[in-house]
C-alpha cells in the first residue's frame, strides 16, 4: 500500500538476519468503553500502556480531546491513537470556524474513518468516539480498517470482552447520570482486573448538553503499596575516624554579562 511498508519490511528482514528483533510498537493494551445515557455520553478508559509484557506507563491518558463537545477514547498503537485524534481535532476546529457551528460527532466520525480506511489498517487505532452536538448525544466505535458502528454502548481494546460482559448484563436505555457513571466504572474495572493488558486507574468523561466532566482519575483502583520497612542506614552506622577540611580558593578571572532578548 505505502512505500514506507516496503522499507520497513526490508529493515525488519535485515535486523532479524543479524539475530535482533525490532522493538514492538507501544500498545495501550486497554479497556475503553462508551455509553449513551439519558442526558448524554459517558466515556471510560483504564490508564495502562504496555510495551510487550512490560507496563510502559502506569497512568497514561486514553481519553483524547477532539472538540469542546466531543471526546475520543483510543486503543491499539498508542502513537497512532494520539496523532490521529490530534489531527482530526485540529482539522475539526478549522472546519468548525469555517462553518461557524459547533462540530458534529458524525463529522469527526467521517473524518476519522476516511483517514483510517486510506491507510488500510496500518494505522492501528481503535477508537470510541462520543459527544453531544446540536442533534443530541452520539456514540461511535471506529475500527483500524475504517469501519464504524453507531451504538448505544460500545467497548474496545484487549479488555473489551470483560467490559462488554458487564454492559450486556446491566445496560438499560435512559440511565441516570450516577447510574451510568457507575456502570462505566464497573465495566472498566472488569477489564482492569480480568485483562492483563489493562490496569491502574479508571478515567471517566461525562459529556452533556452544557458541560463536560473530565474525571481523571475517577477511581484510583490500584494504589501503589506502602513500603513496609526502610533500608536507609542511620547516621553514625559507619564510624568516622578522621576529618580533614580543605578550602578550595577560587579567583574570578573573567566576567561576561549577556542580556537576554526579551522584546
Amino acid at each position: 500500500a505505502l512505500p514506507i511498508c516496503r522499507r520497513n519490511a526490508l529493515l525488519e528482514a535485515e535486523f532479524s538476519d543479524k539475530g535482533h528483533t525490532l522493538p514492538t510498537a507501544r500498545k495501550t493494551g486497554t479497556t475503553i468503553v462508551g455509553l449513551v445515557f439519558k442526558d448524554g455520553i459517558v466515556l471510560g478508559a483504564d490508564t495502562r500502556a504496555t510495551e510487550g509484557m512490560i507496563v510502559a506507563d502506569k497512568n497514561c491518558s486514553k481519553i483524547h480531546y477532539i472538540s469542546p463537545n466531543i471526546y475520543c477514547c483510543g486503543a491499539g498503537t498508542a502513537a497512532d491513537t494520539e496523532m490521529t485524534t490530534q489531527l482530526i481535532s485540529s482539522n475539526l476546529e478549522l472546519h468548525s470556524l469555517s462553518t461557524g457551528r459547533l462540530p458534529r460527532v458524525a463529522t469527526a466520525n467521517r473524518m476519522l474513518k476516511q483517514m483510517l480506511f486510506r491507510y488500510q489498517g496500518y494505522i492501528g487505532a481503535a477508537l470510541v468516539l462520543g459527544g453531544f452536538d446540536y442533534s443530541g448525544p452520539h456514540l461511535y466505535s471506529i475500527y483500524p480498517h475504517g469501519s464504524t458502528d453507531k451504538l448505544p454502548y460500545v467497548t474496545m481494546g484487549s479488555g473489551s470482552l470483560a467490559a462488554m460482559a458487564v454492559f450486556e448484563d446491566r445496560f438499560k436505555p435512559d440511565l441516570e447520570e450516577e447510574e451510568a457513571k457507575l456502570l462505566v466504572r464497573d465495566a472498566i474495572a472488569s477489564g482492569i482486573y480480568n485483562d492483563l493488558g489493562s490496569g491502574s486507574n479508571i478515567d471517566l468523561c461525562v459529556i452533556t448538553k452544557n458541560k463536560v466532566d473530565y474525571l481523571r482519575p475517577h477511581d484510583v483502583a490500584n494504589k501503589k503499596g506502602v513500603r513496609a520497612g526502610s533500608y536507609k542506614y542511620k547516621k553514625g552506622t559507619t564510624g568516622v575516624l578522621t576529618e580533614k577540611v580543605t578550602k578550595w580558593e577560587l579567583d574570578v578571572m573573567e566576567e561576561i554579562v549577556q542580556t537576554m532578548d526579551i522584546s
Binding site: 449513551v36 458524525a106 466520525n109 467521517r110 474513518k113 461511535y140 469501519s147 464504524t148 458502528d149 453507531k150 451504538l151 448505544p152 454502548y153 470482552l161 470483560a162 462488554m164 460482559a165 458487564v166 450486556e168 448484563d169 445496560f171 436505555p173 472488569s190 477489564g191 482486573y193 480480568n194
Partner: protein, 253 residues
C-alpha cells in the same frame, strides 16, 4: 455415484453425494492415526462452587465450524453420585472419554468393595490421561470441567487438552473465560460462599451474556448440579433475551 456431467459446484472438488477422500501427503498411506483438528465442537462450559455443592452449565450445541449442526447434544454428564463433568472442544473425543469413564465406574461397582471414585480421583486420573495423550502428540481435543461434592466439601477443577489443570471457586472454558469469568469473579470476591440459588442465578446471567456475545453459542443449555443428595441434570433451559436495544440502532454512522 458418478458426478460426471452432473452438478459440479466447483472444479476439482466433489459433487454433492459423491464419495470424497481428503487430499493426503505424497507417500503417506493409510488412515489418520492422530487427532489434528477438532470437527464437531462445543463452546464454553461454566462451573460455580456454592455452599453444599457445585453447578456446571453448558449449552447444547455441536458446531461444525460455523454451522450450527447439532442443536440438541448434551455436553454435561454424571460420572457418579458425587461427580459431574462438562466438556468443550471436540464432541467425538468427549463421547469417547464418556464411554471410557462410564465403563470405569461400572467396573468399580463390580469390585463391590463399597468404594466410589471421588471427584478428586477422577480429576487426577483425567489430568494424567490428557497430559499423556498430548505428550504422545495425539490429544483428546477437549477442555473439561469437573465438579463434585465429597465428604462435605465442594470440588471444582479445569483440565485442558495440554494437561493444564487447576481448581478454583469459578471455572470457565473457551469464550466463557473472557465473558463469563469477570462476572463470576465479581460475585465470588464479594461473597465467597454462595447459596445454591445465588450460584444458579449467576450461571443463568452468564449463559445469557454468552448467548449475546459468543458467535458459536446457542440459547439452549443444561445445568448439572451435584450436592450431598446426588446429581441432578436439568435441561433444556433457555435464557430470556432482551433485544429492545435494537430500536436505538440504525445504520453505522
Amino acid at each position: 455415484m458418478e458426478g460426471s456431467g452432473g452438478l459440479r459446484f466447483w472444479s476439482g472438488g466433489p459433487a454433492p453425494g459423491e464419495l470424497y477422500t481428503l487430499p493426503r501427503k505424497e507417500g503417506s498411506c493409510g488412515p489418520l492415526t492422530r487427532t489434528l483438528n477438532p470437527m464437531v465442537t462445543g463452546t464454553s462450559v461454566l462451573g460455580v462452587k456454592f455452599d453444599g455443592g457445585v453447578i456446571i452449565a453448558a449449552d447444547m450445541l455441536g458446531s461444525y465450524g460455523s454451522l450450527a449442526r447439532f442443536r440438541n447434544i448434551s455436553r454435561v454428564m454424571k460420572v457418579n453420585d458425587t461427580t459431574i463433568l462438562g466438556a468443550s472442544g471436540d464432541y467425538a473425543d468427549y463421547l469417547y472419554l464418556k464411554q471410557v469413564l462410564e465403563q470405569m465406574v461400572i467396573d468399580e461397582e463390580l469390585i463391590g468393595d463399597g468404594h466410589k471414585y471421588s471427584p478428586k480421583a477422577i480429576y487426577s486420573w483425567l489430568t494424567r490421561v490428557l497430559y499423556n495423550r498430548r505428550s504422545r502428540m495425539n490429544p483428546l481435543w477437549n477442555t473439561v470441567v469437573i465438579g463434585g461434592f465429597y465428604n462435605g466439601e465442594s470440588f471444582l477443577g479445569y483440565i485442558d487438552k495440554l494437561g493444564v489443570a487447576y481448581q478454583g471457586p469459578t471455572i470457565a472454558t473457551g469464550f466463557g473465560a473472557y465473558l463469563a469469568q469477570p462476572l463470576m469473579r465479581e460475585v465470588i470476591e464479594k461473597k465467597p460462599l454462595l447459596t445454591k440459588d445465588e450460584a444458579r442465578h449467576l450461571v443463568e446471567r452468564c449463559m445469557k451474556v454468552l448467548y449475546y456475545r459468543d458467535a458459536r453459542s446457542y440459547n439452549r443449555y443444561e445445568i448439572a448440579t451435584v450436592t450431598e443428595h446426588g446429581v441432578e441434570i436439568e435441561g433444556p433451559l433457555s435464557s430470556e433475551t432482551n433485544w429492545d436495544v435494537a430500536h436505538l440502532v440504525s445504520g453505522f454512522e
